[in-house]
Symmetry: C2
Subunit: 218 residues, 2 copies
């Protein structure tokens, strides 16, 4: 037997050793209170090249400047770290999203506003993450950019390769992107500036009581 | 092909779409500055019943009361979530610790002081996590409680079952606990109170410039 089966036991056991500290654990509510804003995951979804990471980072910057405690999960810090052991199989694709959802949940529990920027093309996967979180903690942000625009941006020529058949199962070309049916926020990067896109997201957070506008909460 | 291969591409692609926001991402240093203290992982290790969770939560409470941004990873929030898919095999035991290390790394990157409370009996696994982090970001806290004391606490009778041979490979009985050779902090719960144990850890953080004593940083 290994690490895992003893954990639950240990929590109870340790607590019994010192009654004074039994209920001293910092509660979720206390973490939220210290941070001065409501926590949530902003789940950015959209095609490759749609602008998810750009808008997510712009939102993160604005929230940070408001004093919010934030973080961004994206390919840069997930792909070669936590999910570095995953392949591109269907099973591992789901596991990829599941783990990102679970990590998001931990960040939300810690009281942060965490933004995730992953294509996450399938409704079932996105709904899995929504179910992992509580009501109001999962905010789906659909970065709705026409594929023609994404394909024109095509910075590393991936769309070109997909069109030429050199890459298989490319989202939007020969693999489906399932449109979000009721995203909390619907952003159109081809119609407004990145700054306006980010403000649209921040305004949602202000209007729905997650964040106070203009107040530095820290 | 699935989610993963497009992430790196996307980051570059998105950035090219709006030069103004290209370098707008919040840096690690800016997150640290906002929080007002240095981030790190406090890696509590010790036998089942040694007091890891108790001391970790007491430390977390003290740091929170100082205004530090903190979180605790333990069996309660990891076992049935992120690592709920893992078995008790040797391979999964290592994967369990690897993921906890990677998640700790994300929290440290976000600027938090994160405490982890897992037996983590093997030097190799603990060193793996140390290597995942930068110099000074990994603080090993050895909760050094004699097995006789742990066994006396034995709140769920696990030691009793292990002695009777009903549980196999129980750490400290018929599976090794490899002593930390050079832990940053060496805590003896059988000799001082939980409060004193926690203060020992907090004092280390103050003495080494992670946290300012007596100042509410938030």
């Amino acid at each position: 037997m290994s690490e895992l089966p003893y954990k639950e036991v240990e929590v109870a056991g340790d607590k019994s050793s010192d009654v004074v500290w039994h209920q001293a654990s910092v509660s979720h509510e206390q973490r939220v209170e210290l941070n001065g804003h409501k926590p949530a995951v902003l789940w950015f979804t959209g095609l490759s090249g749609s602008g998810k990471s750009t808008v997510a980072n712009a939102v993160d910057r604005m929230l940070h400047d408001l004093g919010c405690k934030t973080y961004v999960l994206d390919g840069d810090n997930i792909r070669h770290g936590l999910n570095g052991d995953l392949s591109f199989s269907d099973k591992d694709r789901i596991e990829n999203i599941r783990r990102i959802g679970e990590v998001s949940k931990l960040f939300v529990d810690a009281g942060l506003l965490v933004s995730t920027a992953f294509i996450s093309p399938f409704t079932q996967d996105r709904e899995m993450v929504r179910q992992q979180l509580k009501q109001g903690e999962f905010i789906e942000v659909f970065i709705d950019t026409p594929i023609a625009v994404c394909e024109q941006r095509d910075p590393k020529g991936l769309y070109k390769k997909a069109r030429a058949g050199e890459i298989k199962n490319f989202t939007g070309i020969d693999s489906a992107y399932e449109l979000p049916e009721n995203p909390e926020i619907h952003v159109k990067t081809a119609e407004i500036s990145i700054k306006d896109c980010a403000e649209q997201v921040v305004n949602f957070l202000v209007d729905n009581g997650y964040v106070q506008s203009g107040t530095r909460n820290s």
